[in-house]
Protein backbone atom coordinates (compact mmCIF):
# COMPACT_ATOMS: atom_id res chain seq x y z
CA UNK A 1 0.00 0.00 0.00
CA UNK A 2 1.21 3.50 -0.73
CA UNK A 3 1.85 6.18 1.85
CA UNK A 4 -0.70 8.99 2.07
CA UNK A 5 0.76 11.11 4.88
CA UNK A 6 4.37 11.12 5.88
CA UNK A 7 6.19 13.02 8.66
CA UNK A 8 9.91 13.47 8.13
CA UNK A 9 11.77 14.63 11.25
CA UNK A 10 9.05 17.07 12.14
CA UNK A 11 9.66 19.38 15.09
CA UNK A 12 7.24 22.03 16.31
CA UNK A 13 8.29 24.46 19.02
CA UNK A 14 6.23 26.97 20.93
CA UNK A 15 8.82 29.10 22.64
CA UNK A 16 10.59 26.61 24.82
CA UNK A 17 7.90 23.94 24.52
CA UNK A 18 8.71 21.16 22.10
CA UNK A 19 5.23 20.11 21.04
CA UNK A 20 6.80 17.75 18.50
CA UNK A 21 10.38 16.62 18.63
CA UNK A 22 11.83 15.00 15.52
CA UNK A 23 8.78 12.93 14.76
CA UNK A 24 8.75 10.65 11.71
CA UNK A 25 6.07 8.22 10.61
CA UNK A 26 4.08 7.06 7.59
CA UNK A 27 0.36 6.59 7.31
CA UNK A 28 -0.64 4.08 4.68
CA UNK A 29 -3.45 4.74 2.30
CA UNK A 30 -6.58 2.96 3.41
CA UNK A 31 -5.41 2.29 6.95
CA UNK A 32 -7.11 2.99 10.24
CA UNK A 33 -4.33 4.55 12.22
CA UNK A 34 -4.55 5.64 15.85
CA UNK A 35 -2.41 8.16 17.69
CA UNK A 36 -2.49 7.91 21.45
CA UNK A 37 -0.65 9.48 24.33
CA UNK A 38 -1.18 11.36 27.57
CA UNK A 39 -2.15 15.04 27.88
CA UNK A 40 0.17 17.39 26.06
CA UNK A 41 1.90 14.56 24.20
CA UNK A 42 1.59 16.34 20.85
CA UNK A 43 -1.31 14.43 19.29
CA UNK A 44 -3.33 17.48 18.29
CA UNK A 45 -0.13 19.16 17.12
CA UNK A 46 0.36 16.33 14.62
CA UNK A 47 -3.11 17.04 13.19
CA UNK A 48 -2.47 20.76 13.10
CA UNK A 49 0.73 20.15 11.14
CA UNK A 50 -1.07 17.93 8.64
CA UNK A 51 -3.92 20.35 8.08
CA UNK A 52 -1.56 23.31 7.84
CA UNK A 53 -2.86 25.24 10.83
CA UNK A 54 0.65 25.03 12.29
CA UNK A 55 3.79 24.96 10.20
CA UNK A 56 6.60 22.70 11.47
CA UNK A 57 9.61 24.49 12.94
CA UNK A 58 11.78 21.98 11.10
CA UNK A 59 11.33 18.85 9.05
CA UNK A 60 8.47 18.41 6.62
CA UNK A 61 5.05 16.94 6.13
CA UNK A 62 4.17 15.17 2.90
CA UNK A 63 0.79 14.37 1.46
CA UNK A 64 1.01 11.73 -1.25
CA UNK A 65 4.69 12.45 -1.70
CA UNK A 66 4.22 16.22 -2.01
CA UNK A 67 5.70 18.57 0.58
CA UNK A 68 2.70 20.52 1.86
CA UNK A 69 4.72 22.78 4.15
CA UNK A 70 4.05 25.90 2.11
CA UNK A 71 0.34 25.33 1.52
CA UNK A 72 -2.51 27.14 3.27
CA UNK A 73 -5.00 25.07 5.31
CA UNK A 74 -7.70 25.48 2.66
CA UNK A 75 -5.35 24.28 -0.08
CA UNK A 76 -4.53 21.20 1.97
CA UNK A 77 -8.22 20.61 2.70
CA UNK A 78 -8.91 20.77 -1.01
CA UNK A 79 -6.45 17.97 -1.60
CA UNK A 80 -8.85 15.78 0.36
CA UNK A 81 -7.81 16.20 3.99
CA UNK A 82 -10.75 16.48 6.42
CA UNK A 83 -10.67 16.76 10.18
CA UNK A 84 -12.67 17.18 13.33
CA UNK A 85 -11.55 19.19 16.32
CA UNK A 86 -10.93 18.23 19.91
CA UNK A 87 -13.21 21.02 21.09
CA UNK A 88 -16.13 20.94 18.67
CA UNK A 89 -15.74 23.64 16.04
CA UNK A 90 -19.21 23.59 14.52
CA UNK A 91 -21.03 26.67 13.28
CA UNK A 92 -23.31 26.88 16.30
CA UNK A 93 -25.81 29.37 14.99
CA UNK A 94 -26.60 27.31 11.94
CA UNK A 95 -28.59 24.18 11.39
CA UNK A 96 -27.14 20.71 11.07
CA UNK A 97 -27.95 20.78 7.38
CA UNK A 98 -26.14 24.09 6.79
CA UNK A 99 -23.09 22.80 8.64
CA UNK A 100 -22.99 19.75 6.40
CA UNK A 101 -23.54 21.85 3.28
CA UNK A 102 -20.58 24.01 4.31
CA UNK A 103 -18.61 20.77 4.51
CA UNK A 104 -19.58 20.08 0.90
CA UNK A 105 -18.21 23.51 -0.10
CA UNK A 106 -15.40 22.20 -2.28
CA UNK A 107 -17.77 20.06 -4.32
CA UNK A 108 -20.07 22.94 -5.20
CA UNK A 109 -18.48 24.72 -8.07
CA UNK A 110 -19.58 28.28 -8.85
CA UNK A 111 -18.38 31.80 -8.09
CA UNK A 112 -19.70 34.76 -6.12
CA UNK A 113 -21.41 36.45 -9.05
CA UNK A 114 -23.19 33.23 -10.03
CA UNK A 115 -24.24 32.96 -6.39
CA UNK A 116 -25.90 36.37 -6.49
CA UNK A 117 -27.68 35.55 -9.74
CA UNK A 118 -28.65 32.04 -8.64
CA UNK A 119 -29.41 30.83 -12.15
CA UNK A 120 -30.57 27.35 -13.16
CA UNK A 121 -27.10 25.79 -13.09
CA UNK A 122 -26.48 27.10 -9.57
CA UNK A 123 -29.83 25.69 -8.57
CA UNK A 124 -28.90 22.26 -9.91
CA UNK A 125 -25.55 22.37 -8.12
CA UNK A 126 -27.26 23.29 -4.85
CA UNK A 127 -29.66 20.40 -5.25
CA UNK A 128 -26.74 18.11 -5.98
CA UNK A 129 -25.02 19.31 -2.79
CA UNK A 130 -28.20 18.72 -0.87
CA UNK A 131 -28.16 15.12 -2.05
CA UNK A 132 -24.57 14.66 -0.84
CA UNK A 133 -25.63 16.09 2.52
CA UNK A 134 -28.68 13.87 2.67
CA UNK A 135 -26.61 10.73 2.06
CA UNK A 136 -24.36 11.63 4.95
CA UNK A 137 -27.29 12.46 7.22
CA UNK A 138 -28.58 9.02 6.41
CA UNK A 139 -25.22 7.36 6.95
CA UNK A 140 -24.73 8.88 10.40
CA UNK A 141 -28.38 8.50 11.40
CA UNK A 142 -29.02 12.15 12.23
CA UNK A 143 -32.23 12.54 10.21
CA UNK A 144 -34.24 13.86 13.10
CA UNK A 145 -31.78 16.71 13.72
CA UNK A 146 -31.56 17.89 10.11
CA UNK A 147 -33.14 21.30 10.78
CA UNK A 148 -32.03 21.66 14.39
CA UNK A 149 -29.66 24.41 15.40
CA UNK A 150 -26.35 23.12 16.72
CA UNK A 151 -26.67 24.87 20.07
CA UNK A 152 -29.86 22.95 20.81
CA UNK A 153 -28.20 19.55 20.36
CA UNK A 154 -26.65 17.31 23.01
CA UNK A 155 -22.88 17.02 23.00
CA UNK A 156 -22.78 13.51 21.57
CA UNK A 157 -24.89 14.51 18.58
CA UNK A 158 -22.78 17.61 18.01
CA UNK A 159 -19.72 15.37 17.77
CA UNK A 160 -21.54 13.30 15.18
CA UNK A 161 -22.52 16.38 13.20
CA UNK A 162 -18.90 17.47 13.11
CA UNK A 163 -18.07 14.05 11.71
CA UNK A 164 -20.82 14.53 9.13
CA UNK A 165 -19.42 17.91 8.11
CA UNK A 166 -15.98 16.35 7.59
CA UNK A 167 -17.48 13.51 5.54
CA UNK A 168 -19.29 16.00 3.32
CA UNK A 169 -15.87 17.02 2.08
CA UNK A 170 -15.62 13.52 0.58
CA UNK A 171 -12.06 13.38 1.82
CA UNK A 172 -9.32 10.90 1.08
CA UNK A 173 -8.14 11.04 4.65
CA UNK A 174 -10.05 12.01 7.75
CA UNK A 175 -8.39 13.12 10.99
CA UNK A 176 -10.51 12.60 14.09
CA UNK A 177 -9.36 14.37 17.25
CA UNK A 178 -10.81 12.53 20.26
CA UNK A 179 -14.16 11.67 18.67
CA UNK A 180 -15.31 9.82 21.77
CA UNK A 181 -14.18 12.32 24.40
CA UNK A 182 -16.84 13.08 26.98
CA UNK A 183 -19.18 10.36 25.78
CA UNK A 184 -20.84 7.60 27.72
CA UNK A 185 -20.29 3.95 26.82
CA UNK A 186 -23.23 3.67 24.50
CA UNK A 187 -22.28 6.82 22.58
CA UNK A 188 -18.69 5.64 22.38
CA UNK A 189 -19.82 2.35 20.86
CA UNK A 190 -21.91 4.23 18.32
CA UNK A 191 -18.98 6.40 17.32
CA UNK A 192 -16.67 3.38 17.09
CA UNK A 193 -19.17 1.71 14.79
CA UNK A 194 -19.38 4.81 12.58
CA UNK A 195 -15.61 5.08 12.40
CA UNK A 196 -15.38 1.46 11.27
CA UNK A 197 -18.07 2.13 8.67
CA UNK A 198 -16.24 5.19 7.39
CA UNK A 199 -13.10 3.16 7.05
CA UNK A 200 -14.62 0.01 5.58
CA UNK A 201 -17.62 1.20 3.59
CA UNK A 202 -16.46 4.62 2.45
CA UNK A 203 -12.82 3.47 2.20
CA UNK A 204 -11.45 6.66 3.70
CA UNK A 205 -8.05 6.56 5.38
CA UNK A 206 -8.79 7.30 9.02
CA UNK A 207 -6.48 8.72 11.66
CA UNK A 208 -7.84 8.69 15.16
CA UNK A 209 -6.49 10.52 18.18
CA UNK A 210 -7.50 9.31 21.58
CA UNK A 211 -6.50 9.42 25.18
CA UNK A 212 -7.62 6.06 26.24
CA UNK A 213 -6.38 2.83 24.84
CA UNK A 214 -9.54 0.78 24.93
CA UNK A 215 -11.46 1.92 21.87
CA UNK A 216 -8.26 2.37 19.93
CA UNK A 217 -7.06 -1.14 20.68
CA UNK A 218 -10.38 -2.52 19.49
CA UNK A 219 -10.60 -0.81 16.14
CA UNK A 220 -7.20 0.51 15.01
CA UNK A 221 -4.92 -1.40 12.67
CA UNK A 222 -1.85 0.63 13.53
CA UNK A 223 -1.02 2.81 16.47
CA UNK A 224 1.47 5.58 17.16
CA UNK A 225 2.16 6.31 20.81
CA UNK A 226 3.31 9.84 21.68
CA UNK A 227 4.74 11.26 24.89
CA UNK A 228 6.22 14.73 25.48
CA UNK A 229 6.40 15.43 21.76
CA UNK A 230 8.26 12.23 21.00
CA UNK A 231 7.17 9.12 19.21
CA UNK A 232 7.49 6.18 21.60
CA UNK A 233 5.99 3.46 19.51
CA UNK A 234 4.71 2.83 16.01
CA UNK A 235 3.25 -0.57 15.18
CA UNK A 236 0.26 -2.82 15.73
CA UNK A 237 -1.86 -2.33 18.87
CA UNK A 238 -1.16 -5.84 20.17
CA UNK A 239 2.52 -5.04 20.45
CA UNK A 240 1.90 -1.60 21.95
CA UNK A 241 0.38 -2.95 25.13
CA UNK A 242 3.50 -4.98 25.79
CA UNK A 243 5.92 -2.19 24.99
CA UNK A 244 7.93 -1.13 28.00
CA UNK A 245 8.08 2.58 27.14
CA UNK A 246 4.39 2.72 26.39
CA UNK A 247 3.47 1.17 29.68
CA UNK A 248 5.76 3.56 31.49
CA UNK A 249 4.27 6.56 29.75
CA UNK A 250 0.77 5.47 30.60
CA UNK A 251 1.25 4.21 34.12
CA UNK A 252 4.15 6.43 35.01
CA UNK A 253 5.95 3.46 36.60
CA UNK A 254 8.78 1.27 35.61
CA UNK A 255 7.69 -2.22 34.56
CA UNK A 256 10.80 -4.14 35.51
CA UNK A 257 10.39 -4.45 39.23
Amino acid sequence: MSTIVSFKDVSLNFGGVKALNNVSFDIKEGSLHAIIGPNGAGKTSIFNCISGIYKPTSGHVEFKGENIGSLRPDEIANKGVARTFQNIELFENMTVLDNILIGAHRHIDYGSISGILFGPSVREKEIEARKIAEDIIDFLEIEEYRFSYILSLPYGIQKRVELARALAMKPEIILLDEPAAGMNNEETEDIARFILDIHEELKITTVLVDHDMNMVMDIAEDVIVMDFGQKLFDGIPKDAIHDKQVIEAYLGVSTDK
Binding site: S51, I53, R72, P73, D74, A77, N78, A82, R83, F85, E89, L90, F91, E92, N93, M94, D98, L101, I102, G103, H105, R106, I108, Y110, G111, S112, S114, G115, I116, L117, F118, V122, R123, E126, I127, A129, R130, K131, E134, E141, E143, E144, R146, F147, R165, M169
Partner: protein, 367 residues
Amino acid sequence: MKGRPNLYTDYRKEIAILNTTTQKFWALIGLTLLIISSFFFSQYWMYLITTALLTAVAAWGLNIVSGFAGQISLAHGAFVGIGTYVSAVLGGVGSSYIRGYELDMLIWLPLAGIVPAIIGLIISPLAVRLKGLNLGLVTLGLVFIASYIFSNWNSVTGGSGIGRKTAKLKIFGIDFNDGFYAGSYHIEKDQFIFFLSLILFIFAGIGVKNLMRSKIGRAYAAIRDRDIAAEAIGINLYRFKASAFALSSFYAGVAGSLIFVMSGGVDPTQFNLVYSVTFIAIVIVGGAGTVLGPLFGAAFFSLIPGVIKYFLHFFGTTADQVPLHPTQIERLVFGLLLIGFLIFESRGLWGIWFRLRNYFKAWPFSY
Protein backbone atom coordinates in the same frame (compact mmCIF):
# COMPACT_ATOMS: atom_id res chain seq x y z
CA MET B 1 -36.79 1.54 9.92
CA LYS B 2 -36.88 5.22 10.70
CA GLY B 3 -38.61 7.39 8.16
CA ARG B 4 -37.47 10.79 7.08
CA PRO B 5 -40.25 12.86 8.62
CA ASN B 6 -38.73 16.24 7.88
CA LEU B 7 -37.37 15.46 4.50
CA TYR B 8 -38.60 17.70 1.77
CA THR B 9 -39.23 15.50 -1.20
CA ASP B 10 -38.57 18.51 -3.34
CA TYR B 11 -35.30 20.31 -2.59
CA ARG B 12 -36.21 22.72 -5.33
CA LYS B 13 -39.06 24.01 -3.25
CA GLU B 14 -36.97 24.14 -0.15
CA ILE B 15 -34.31 26.39 -1.65
CA ALA B 16 -36.83 28.60 -3.44
CA ILE B 17 -36.33 32.32 -2.95
CA LEU B 18 -39.58 32.86 -1.10
CA ASN B 19 -40.31 29.41 0.14
CA THR B 20 -43.64 29.97 1.83
CA THR B 21 -46.91 31.32 0.57
CA THR B 22 -46.89 33.89 3.37
CA GLN B 23 -43.62 35.32 2.17
CA LYS B 24 -44.90 35.60 -1.38
CA PHE B 25 -48.14 37.11 -0.13
CA TRP B 26 -46.52 39.85 1.92
CA ALA B 27 -43.88 40.67 -0.65
CA LEU B 28 -46.59 41.16 -3.22
CA ILE B 29 -48.81 43.23 -0.89
CA GLY B 30 -45.89 45.42 0.12
CA LEU B 31 -44.85 46.16 -3.43
CA THR B 32 -48.38 46.82 -4.64
CA LEU B 33 -49.09 49.22 -1.78
CA LEU B 34 -45.82 51.03 -2.40
CA ILE B 35 -46.48 51.44 -6.10
CA ILE B 36 -50.09 52.55 -5.71
CA SER B 37 -49.35 54.98 -2.92
CA SER B 38 -46.51 56.51 -4.93
CA PHE B 39 -49.18 58.25 -6.99
CA PHE B 40 -50.45 60.03 -3.88
CA PHE B 41 -47.25 60.88 -2.02
CA SER B 42 -46.28 64.45 -1.46
CA GLN B 43 -42.96 65.32 -2.96
CA TYR B 44 -41.49 65.22 0.53
CA TRP B 45 -42.60 61.65 1.22
CA MET B 46 -41.60 60.53 -2.24
CA TYR B 47 -38.14 61.80 -1.41
CA LEU B 48 -38.08 60.07 1.97
CA ILE B 49 -39.25 56.75 0.60
CA THR B 50 -36.84 56.82 -2.33
CA THR B 51 -34.04 57.58 0.10
CA ALA B 52 -35.22 54.68 2.26
CA LEU B 53 -35.13 52.28 -0.71
CA LEU B 54 -31.64 53.32 -1.76
CA THR B 55 -30.40 53.40 1.82
CA ALA B 56 -31.66 49.83 2.13
CA VAL B 57 -29.61 48.85 -0.93
CA ALA B 58 -26.48 50.39 0.57
CA ALA B 59 -27.24 48.83 3.96
CA TRP B 60 -27.63 45.43 2.31
CA GLY B 61 -24.15 45.99 0.97
CA LEU B 62 -22.74 46.61 4.42
CA ASN B 63 -24.68 43.62 5.66
CA ILE B 64 -22.91 41.41 3.11
CA VAL B 65 -19.46 42.24 4.39
CA SER B 66 -20.25 42.82 8.08
CA GLY B 67 -23.44 40.89 8.78
CA PHE B 68 -22.77 37.82 6.66
CA ALA B 69 -18.97 37.70 6.41
CA GLY B 70 -18.29 39.31 9.81
CA GLN B 71 -15.73 41.86 8.58
CA ILE B 72 -16.33 45.21 10.19
CA SER B 73 -16.14 48.13 7.78
CA LEU B 74 -16.29 51.73 8.88
CA ALA B 75 -15.70 52.87 5.32
CA HIS B 76 -19.01 51.92 3.76
CA GLY B 77 -20.13 55.52 3.34
CA ALA B 78 -16.97 56.25 1.39
CA PHE B 79 -17.95 53.60 -1.16
CA VAL B 80 -21.38 55.17 -1.45
CA GLY B 81 -19.51 58.40 -2.17
CA ILE B 82 -17.37 56.79 -4.86
CA GLY B 83 -20.54 55.55 -6.56
CA THR B 84 -22.04 59.02 -6.32
CA TYR B 85 -19.05 60.63 -7.99
CA VAL B 86 -18.61 57.98 -10.67
CA SER B 87 -22.21 58.60 -11.70
CA ALA B 88 -21.94 62.38 -11.32
CA VAL B 89 -18.83 62.60 -13.48
CA LEU B 90 -20.04 60.18 -16.15
CA GLY B 91 -23.69 61.24 -16.15
CA GLY B 92 -23.54 64.82 -14.92
CA VAL B 93 -23.12 68.11 -16.70
CA GLY B 94 -19.58 69.40 -17.02
CA SER B 95 -18.23 72.91 -17.05
CA SER B 96 -14.87 74.60 -17.30
CA TYR B 97 -13.97 73.59 -13.75
CA ILE B 98 -16.02 70.42 -13.20
CA ARG B 99 -15.91 67.22 -15.15
CA GLY B 100 -19.13 65.80 -16.53
CA TYR B 101 -19.78 63.74 -19.63
CA GLU B 102 -23.58 63.46 -19.69
CA LEU B 103 -23.44 59.79 -20.61
CA ASP B 104 -26.36 57.39 -20.64
CA MET B 105 -27.53 55.91 -17.34
CA LEU B 106 -26.96 52.45 -18.81
CA ILE B 107 -23.26 53.31 -18.69
CA TRP B 108 -22.95 55.15 -15.40
CA LEU B 109 -25.20 52.96 -13.30
CA PRO B 110 -23.19 49.73 -13.73
CA LEU B 111 -19.88 51.60 -13.50
CA ALA B 112 -20.99 53.28 -10.29
CA GLY B 113 -21.06 49.75 -8.86
CA ILE B 114 -18.05 48.28 -10.66
CA VAL B 115 -15.56 51.02 -9.78
CA PRO B 116 -16.19 50.80 -6.01
CA ALA B 117 -16.19 46.99 -6.31
CA ILE B 118 -12.69 47.09 -7.80
CA ILE B 119 -11.51 49.48 -5.10
CA GLY B 120 -13.09 47.13 -2.54
CA LEU B 121 -11.12 44.25 -4.06
CA ILE B 122 -7.92 46.24 -3.86
CA ILE B 123 -8.31 47.01 -0.16
CA SER B 124 -9.65 43.56 0.75
CA PRO B 125 -6.18 42.09 1.53
CA LEU B 126 -6.33 44.31 4.63
CA ALA B 127 -9.29 42.29 5.82
CA VAL B 128 -7.41 39.06 5.31
CA ARG B 129 -4.59 40.21 7.53
CA LEU B 130 -6.62 42.04 10.13
CA LYS B 131 -9.57 41.11 12.26
CA GLY B 132 -12.10 42.83 14.50
CA LEU B 133 -11.05 46.12 16.02
CA ASN B 134 -7.85 46.41 13.96
CA LEU B 135 -9.77 46.07 10.74
CA GLY B 136 -12.25 48.63 12.06
CA LEU B 137 -9.42 51.08 12.72
CA VAL B 138 -7.90 50.60 9.28
CA THR B 139 -11.23 51.14 7.57
CA LEU B 140 -11.60 54.22 9.75
CA GLY B 141 -8.39 55.44 8.16
CA LEU B 142 -9.92 54.81 4.75
CA VAL B 143 -12.87 57.08 5.55
CA PHE B 144 -10.49 59.90 6.41
CA ILE B 145 -8.47 59.36 3.24
CA ALA B 146 -11.66 59.28 1.17
CA SER B 147 -13.02 62.40 2.90
CA TYR B 148 -9.79 64.19 2.17
CA ILE B 149 -9.83 63.23 -1.49
CA PHE B 150 -13.51 64.08 -1.85
CA SER B 151 -13.02 67.52 -0.30
CA ASN B 152 -10.01 68.40 -2.40
CA TRP B 153 -10.59 66.87 -5.79
CA ASN B 154 -12.48 69.91 -6.99
CA SER B 155 -12.78 68.92 -10.63
CA VAL B 156 -14.76 65.84 -9.56
CA THR B 157 -16.60 66.84 -6.40
CA GLY B 158 -16.73 70.60 -6.64
CA GLY B 159 -14.88 70.88 -3.33
CA SER B 160 -16.28 71.10 0.19
CA GLY B 161 -18.97 73.65 0.81
CA ILE B 162 -19.60 73.99 -2.92
CA GLY B 163 -20.39 70.54 -4.25
CA ARG B 164 -21.63 69.65 -7.68
CA LYS B 165 -24.72 68.56 -9.55
CA THR B 166 -25.54 64.86 -9.74
CA ALA B 167 -26.03 62.66 -12.81
CA LYS B 168 -28.73 63.45 -15.36
CA LEU B 169 -31.30 60.85 -16.25
CA LYS B 170 -30.89 59.74 -19.81
CA ILE B 171 -31.73 56.21 -20.79
CA PHE B 172 -31.26 54.91 -24.36
CA GLY B 173 -30.64 58.54 -25.24
CA ILE B 174 -34.08 59.59 -23.98
CA ASP B 175 -34.04 62.45 -21.53
CA PHE B 176 -36.15 61.94 -18.39
CA ASN B 177 -35.05 65.04 -16.52
CA ASP B 178 -38.39 66.80 -16.91
CA GLY B 179 -40.46 63.68 -16.40
CA PHE B 180 -42.28 62.04 -19.27
CA TYR B 181 -45.71 61.03 -20.50
CA ALA B 182 -47.00 57.51 -20.01
CA GLY B 183 -49.98 57.76 -22.34
CA SER B 184 -51.65 60.93 -21.19
CA TYR B 185 -50.40 60.67 -17.62
CA HIS B 186 -47.38 62.78 -16.81
CA ILE B 187 -44.86 60.95 -14.67
CA GLU B 188 -42.84 63.46 -12.68
CA LYS B 189 -39.08 63.23 -12.54
CA ASP B 190 -39.23 62.38 -8.83
CA GLN B 191 -41.70 59.59 -9.40
CA PHE B 192 -39.47 58.28 -12.14
CA ILE B 193 -36.50 58.21 -9.78
CA PHE B 194 -38.71 56.48 -7.23
CA PHE B 195 -39.54 53.74 -9.74
CA LEU B 196 -35.91 53.36 -10.77
CA SER B 197 -34.94 53.04 -7.12
CA LEU B 198 -37.69 50.54 -6.53
CA ILE B 199 -36.48 48.35 -9.39
CA LEU B 200 -32.92 48.60 -8.14
CA PHE B 201 -34.14 47.79 -4.65
CA ILE B 202 -36.00 44.68 -5.84
CA PHE B 203 -33.00 43.35 -7.76
CA ALA B 204 -30.67 44.15 -4.89
CA GLY B 205 -32.95 42.33 -2.46
CA ILE B 206 -33.17 39.28 -4.69
CA GLY B 207 -29.37 39.33 -4.98
CA VAL B 208 -28.92 39.36 -1.22
CA LYS B 209 -31.42 36.58 -0.72
CA ASN B 210 -29.68 34.56 -3.44
CA LEU B 211 -26.33 35.11 -1.84
CA MET B 212 -27.66 33.87 1.47
CA ARG B 213 -29.05 30.65 0.08
CA SER B 214 -25.95 29.93 -1.99
CA LYS B 215 -22.63 28.38 -1.09
CA ILE B 216 -21.19 31.91 -1.08
CA GLY B 217 -23.42 33.01 1.80
CA ARG B 218 -22.62 29.83 3.71
CA ALA B 219 -18.90 30.39 3.17
CA TYR B 220 -19.24 33.98 4.47
CA ALA B 221 -21.05 32.78 7.57
CA ALA B 222 -18.43 30.09 8.11
CA ILE B 223 -15.64 32.67 7.97
CA ARG B 224 -17.57 34.94 10.31
CA ASP B 225 -18.26 32.27 12.92
CA ARG B 226 -15.09 30.17 12.87
CA ASP B 227 -12.41 31.05 10.41
CA ILE B 228 -10.08 28.19 11.35
CA ALA B 229 -12.78 25.57 10.84
CA ALA B 230 -13.76 27.28 7.59
CA GLU B 231 -10.21 27.03 6.30
CA ALA B 232 -9.94 23.41 7.37
CA ILE B 233 -13.01 22.74 5.24
CA GLY B 234 -11.34 24.24 2.21
CA ILE B 235 -12.79 27.74 2.20
CA ASN B 236 -10.26 30.22 0.85
CA LEU B 237 -10.37 33.15 3.28
CA TYR B 238 -8.64 35.52 0.86
CA ARG B 239 -11.06 34.83 -1.91
CA PHE B 240 -14.23 35.11 0.11
CA LYS B 241 -13.24 38.14 2.14
CA ALA B 242 -12.30 39.80 -1.13
CA SER B 243 -15.58 38.89 -2.76
CA ALA B 244 -17.53 40.11 0.28
CA PHE B 245 -15.78 43.47 0.14
CA ALA B 246 -16.26 43.74 -3.61
CA LEU B 247 -19.97 42.87 -3.54
CA SER B 248 -20.56 45.13 -0.57
CA SER B 249 -18.88 48.05 -2.33
CA PHE B 250 -20.82 47.30 -5.49
CA TYR B 251 -24.08 47.67 -3.58
CA ALA B 252 -22.83 50.85 -1.91
CA GLY B 253 -21.79 52.37 -5.22
CA VAL B 254 -24.98 51.55 -7.07
CA ALA B 255 -27.06 53.00 -4.24
CA GLY B 256 -24.79 56.04 -4.18
CA SER B 257 -25.26 56.68 -7.87
CA LEU B 258 -28.95 57.52 -7.37
CA ILE B 259 -29.29 58.50 -3.75
CA PHE B 260 -28.58 62.22 -4.31
CA VAL B 261 -30.11 62.45 -7.76
CA MET B 262 -33.51 63.51 -6.46
CA SER B 263 -32.08 66.43 -4.50
CA GLY B 264 -29.94 67.21 -7.54
CA GLY B 265 -26.67 68.15 -5.86
CA VAL B 266 -24.14 66.72 -3.46
CA ASP B 267 -21.51 68.20 -1.21
CA PRO B 268 -18.38 66.12 -0.50
CA THR B 269 -18.52 66.78 3.25
CA GLN B 270 -21.62 64.58 3.17
CA PHE B 271 -19.41 61.46 3.10
CA ASN B 272 -17.88 61.89 6.52
CA LEU B 273 -17.42 59.39 9.32
CA VAL B 274 -20.93 59.96 10.66
CA TYR B 275 -22.34 58.91 7.30
CA SER B 276 -20.42 55.62 7.39
CA VAL B 277 -21.35 54.97 11.00
CA THR B 278 -24.99 55.59 10.12
CA PHE B 279 -24.95 52.51 7.93
CA ILE B 280 -23.53 50.42 10.76
CA ALA B 281 -26.28 51.74 13.01
CA ILE B 282 -28.91 50.93 10.38
CA VAL B 283 -27.69 47.35 10.05
CA ILE B 284 -27.56 46.87 13.82
CA VAL B 285 -30.92 48.47 14.55
CA GLY B 286 -32.45 46.51 11.68
CA GLY B 287 -30.80 43.20 12.49
CA ALA B 288 -27.40 42.18 11.14
CA GLY B 289 -26.99 39.03 9.09
CA THR B 290 -30.60 38.89 7.94
CA VAL B 291 -32.17 39.88 4.64
CA LEU B 292 -35.04 41.92 6.06
CA GLY B 293 -33.05 43.57 8.86
CA PRO B 294 -31.21 46.24 6.83
CA LEU B 295 -34.47 46.99 5.05
CA PHE B 296 -36.24 47.62 8.36
CA GLY B 297 -33.30 49.67 9.61
CA ALA B 298 -33.12 51.77 6.46
CA ALA B 299 -36.86 52.40 6.38
CA PHE B 300 -36.82 53.32 10.01
CA PHE B 301 -33.86 55.65 9.75
CA SER B 302 -34.98 57.36 6.56
CA LEU B 303 -38.61 57.80 7.55
CA ILE B 304 -38.07 59.05 11.11
CA PRO B 305 -37.66 62.67 9.92
CA GLY B 306 -41.03 62.50 8.21
CA VAL B 307 -42.70 60.94 11.20
CA ILE B 308 -41.25 63.50 13.60
CA LYS B 309 -42.30 66.31 11.32
CA TYR B 310 -45.77 64.81 11.13
CA PHE B 311 -46.07 64.63 14.92
CA LEU B 312 -44.86 68.17 15.42
CA HIS B 313 -47.43 69.27 12.92
CA PHE B 314 -50.09 67.13 14.54
CA PHE B 315 -49.56 68.75 17.92
CA GLY B 316 -49.80 72.12 16.30
CA THR B 317 -46.23 73.06 17.05
CA THR B 318 -43.74 74.33 14.55
CA ALA B 319 -40.12 73.43 14.58
CA ASP B 320 -38.99 76.61 16.33
CA GLN B 321 -41.34 76.08 19.28
CA VAL B 322 -39.57 72.93 20.43
CA PRO B 323 -36.16 73.30 22.04
CA LEU B 324 -34.59 70.76 19.70
CA HIS B 325 -34.29 70.90 15.94
CA PRO B 326 -36.06 68.03 14.17
CA THR B 327 -32.74 66.60 12.97
CA GLN B 328 -31.52 66.67 16.56
CA ILE B 329 -34.60 64.77 17.66
CA GLU B 330 -33.97 62.25 14.85
CA ARG B 331 -30.41 61.66 15.98
CA LEU B 332 -31.48 61.39 19.59
CA VAL B 333 -34.24 58.91 18.84
CA PHE B 334 -32.02 56.84 16.61
CA GLY B 335 -29.11 56.93 19.05
CA LEU B 336 -31.28 55.80 21.94
CA LEU B 337 -32.71 53.02 19.80
CA LEU B 338 -29.25 51.89 18.82
CA ILE B 339 -28.22 51.60 22.46
CA GLY B 340 -31.52 49.93 23.30
CA PHE B 341 -31.13 47.32 20.59
CA LEU B 342 -27.53 46.56 21.47
CA ILE B 343 -28.57 45.94 25.06
CA PHE B 344 -31.99 44.37 24.79
CA GLU B 345 -32.50 42.89 21.33
CA SER B 346 -29.32 42.08 19.47
CA ARG B 347 -31.32 40.80 16.55
CA GLY B 348 -32.65 44.31 15.94
CA LEU B 349 -36.01 45.19 14.43
CA TRP B 350 -35.85 41.89 12.58
CA GLY B 351 -35.81 40.14 15.96
CA ILE B 352 -38.96 41.97 17.05
CA TRP B 353 -40.65 41.16 13.77
CA PHE B 354 -39.55 37.55 14.14
CA ARG B 355 -41.15 37.29 17.58
CA LEU B 356 -44.32 39.05 16.45
CA ARG B 357 -44.56 36.66 13.54
CA ASN B 358 -44.26 33.66 15.78
CA TYR B 359 -46.79 35.22 18.11
CA PHE B 360 -49.28 35.51 15.26
CA LYS B 361 -48.54 32.03 13.96
CA ALA B 362 -52.13 31.07 14.58
CA TRP B 363 -53.21 33.63 12.04
CA PRO B 364 -54.75 32.33 8.81
CA PHE B 365 -51.83 33.41 6.65
CA SER B 366 -49.17 31.64 8.61
CA TYR B 367 -48.58 28.96 6.02
